[in-house]
Symmetry: C2
Subunit: 442 residues, 2 copies
């Protein structure tokens, strides 16, 4: 790439304006063509990837990348098939654009519509995974957003080969090639993060460190979460068998996931009978328990280490679980608000009144009753695709589907109306009548 990052961003902005008024059929077509070309160019993609892997092996040896990064880098026939399959699945999703969110008659022949439209330009900063290129490009095209991809050095050749193919598909489908752009080099990150006039959203895909770096270095809205410190509150009225199964699933199904549980809060009324069963169950699953003073007293004789105060806010991302005995649901909620990351908080109880109280009072993106915290996920929620998970409260919260890549605009259709006729002593009244929408979603 000889163009400057700024010039690429400007080209992306122009492309985004064309994309915004392109037909959904044409954008779907471009995703299908890209998927087909990727299958056709399989061998040359694997070759580019092999070169990346060879270099990455040295980066691994010198500690520049982690073993996990290295593992995620490799392409195989199977992986490529999964990638094109995911692209086609995104193409088939319902169109997120042009949805009428609200319709209001302001007066006769003066009608206001609130309709969804694309954000504009997305900058995606990712590490290792080649599937980030195909997934984000498909999501961008489906939602008519231009995409600027910034690939980590370890995956540059693979990313470049994929982007070349996708741009060919765009050209073949009569869409602007600059709908998908690739930038490289460490310094391009800072440049992208500084272009709030060109970039409408930044999506970091990678380590917690990357997400934190991006959040701390831009005023552009960031879609991404750095932490998931999720709690399971076992109420006095919990079914202990259900509580054990939910804790097990929430902790051990995939401990590195952000929706895995880190802390269990147990009501003191059942702690005496429940904790010995918990320690036995989790012991058989190789989960290490840490506990508050009361937990350790109840489990005297068991090797349960104490939890330091700051540790309650830790995302272990491992087979480690902190346990605290609480005197009441209020104390549990206070703990959650003090140490949680507002990601997903669960109550296990057979008492529907306690459940509803917990669901209403806890401030988090997800509040669950009698279900594993692992359900906090775009696919499981039924979004078809997951763009990311957000612990921000604005724009999008929790698992984010295609809708998270849209904004809306107000369309007003009149017949020459003037605002001044609707004010003052002889003001014409507004009707402000809510009209039905034929929105597919609510």
């Amino acid at each position: 790439m000889t163009l400057s990052v700024r010039a690429i961003a400007e080209a992306s902005k122009r492309a985004s304006r064309n994309l915004a008024s392109s037909s959904p059929e044409r954008r779907i077509e471009s995703i299908r063509v890209a998927s087909k070309l990727i299958e056709q160019d399989r061998l040359s993609l694997l070759e580019s990837n092999a070169q990346d892997l060879a270099d990455a092996r040295h980066m691994l040896d010198s500690g520049e990348i982690t073993a996990a990064s290295f593992e995620r880098l490799g392409l195989t026939d199977k992986k490529l098939a999964e990638m094109t399959h995911s692209m086609l699945a995104v193409a088939e999703l319902p169109d997120p654009l042009g949805r009428v969110l609200q319709r209001t008659e302001l007066d006769v022949n003066l009608e206001l519509e609130k309709i969804t439209c694309p954000l504009g330009v997305l900058a995606v900063i990712f590490e290792s995974r080649p599937d980030a290129v195909t997934q984000i490009s498909a999501l961008g095209l489906k939602s008519a957003n231009a995409v600027i991809l910034k690939a980590g050095r370890e995956v540059e050749r693979t990313a470049s080969a994929l982007v070349t193919i996708i741009r060919q598909a765009l050209k073949n489908s009569g869409l602007p090639e600059d709908s998908v752009n690739l930038v490289t080099g460490r310094e391009s990150i800072q440049q992208l993060l500084g272009m709030s006039d060109m970039v409408d959203m930044v999506i970091p895909r990678g380590s917690k460190q990357l997400v934190e770096f991006v959040k701390a270095n831009t005023r552009i809205p960031v879609l991404g979460h750095a932490e998931g410190v999720c709690h399971i509150y076992v109420d006095a009225a919990a079914d202990p068998d259900m509580a054990l199964a939910i804790i097990d699933d929430s902790k051990t199904d995939y401990p590195a996931a952000c929706n895995a549980a880190e802390t269990v809060l147990v009501h003191e009324q059942i702690a005496g009978s429940f904790l010995p069963r918990l320690v036995e169950w989790l012991g058989s699953r190789n989960v290490i328990l840490r506990g508050c003073e009361k937990t350790r007293a109840i489990l005297a004789g068991q090797p349960v280490e104490a939890v330091a105060d700051a540790e309650w806010a830790t995302e272990y991302s491992d087979l480690v679980l902190a346990v605290r005995v609480v005197r009441s649901m209020d104390e549990a909620i206070e703990h959650i608000h003090a140490y949680g990351s507002s990601h997903t908080e669960t109550i296990v109880t057979q008492d529907p009144i306690a459940a509803e109280r917990f669901l209403a009072r806890v401030d988090a993106a997800g509040v669950f009753h009698n279900a594993s915290s692992r359900f906090a996920d775009g696919y499981r929620y039924g979004f078809g695709a997951e763009v990311g998970i957000s612990t921000s409260k604005l724009h999008a919260r929790g698992p984010v589907g295609l809708d998270g890549l849209t904004t809306y605009k107000y369309v007003l259709r009149g017949s020459g109306q003037l605002a001044r006729n609707y004010q003052g002593p002889n003001a014409r009244p507004f009707t402000h009548r809510r009209l039905p929408t034929d929105s597919r979603h609510n």
Copy 2:
């Protein structure tokens, strides 16, 4: 105030958690009580205001505040009546909380709801206007958000007297007094802007300089717009009489408003006949025209100054209008995207196809056909109250009503389901059935 800004913010956060689970009736009651107490304490409020005014007179003389600021500061019986009337109107609005935005059955007895809830803590930084205190407090209480008010020095005594009354009303209604707090002093602004862990949204209410300062100095989401550079595009197929009337209303109804027009773009096919009428009409309304080369050629002999390139992006906020002749709608749209602020853009035309093309292609919070740009306003849109106008694309765009002070959370109600049973070779399938909502809005 002897408490630190940090301590006040922490108290606000705690109060916000209580507010979030309070009943709508109790919050409405607190607004009504506050309105009644303000009426009762009329005389002492006027006295506090008189002291502010006396000091502000000196600040005006020394140039510390503007004449416009000074004018907005004064309270009268009429003004107080308007303030309490507005509070009661906010109390009567539909409840923005607990609305079910989406309901999905994930599986039997596993149901997901997306429901609206408060943001948390709002920091409102305002100048001069005492009615900012009552309006924002009422909006905050209605939406169950705690509010931290930072008043300009010129209005400190008045704001303090009003906040004391509102906190009394909160106490009388059994709600936490810290739902509404006041901080003072210039340094408290920087402190508030730095507390992204406590403050969920910043709302600047005042000069363009204030809004720009706030936006440049915080990572907390800001609800506010700095500029409105709005265009009227007069298409080849425009009804010239309608175009004149719409331009007149958009420019002269309230030139200082952000939704006033700054530039008129005229299709070259009708420029020859339209521009002489425009200059005559606007001359009679004391509007000064500035023009591009073609405009000046057509209006040769008229005193139309040239527009420098950078000037096309200027918000005149005055009886000045820039005029440019364009060869096509495409050129008009390019101009709008290059110089506009994505606030409100209008096309005047009798050609429905041209209109729909403009509405689809222009990227702005509001796109209007045959209507004055001045309709871009929360009250006119039928929101009941306007919290602000946003030219940001995320969270809230355009005029923002009470809904802009809410976020949502996902509530999942299960019966012991585990995520691991829904994956792998024998995965139980999700039903992902969209269920009806009884949502009042769409």
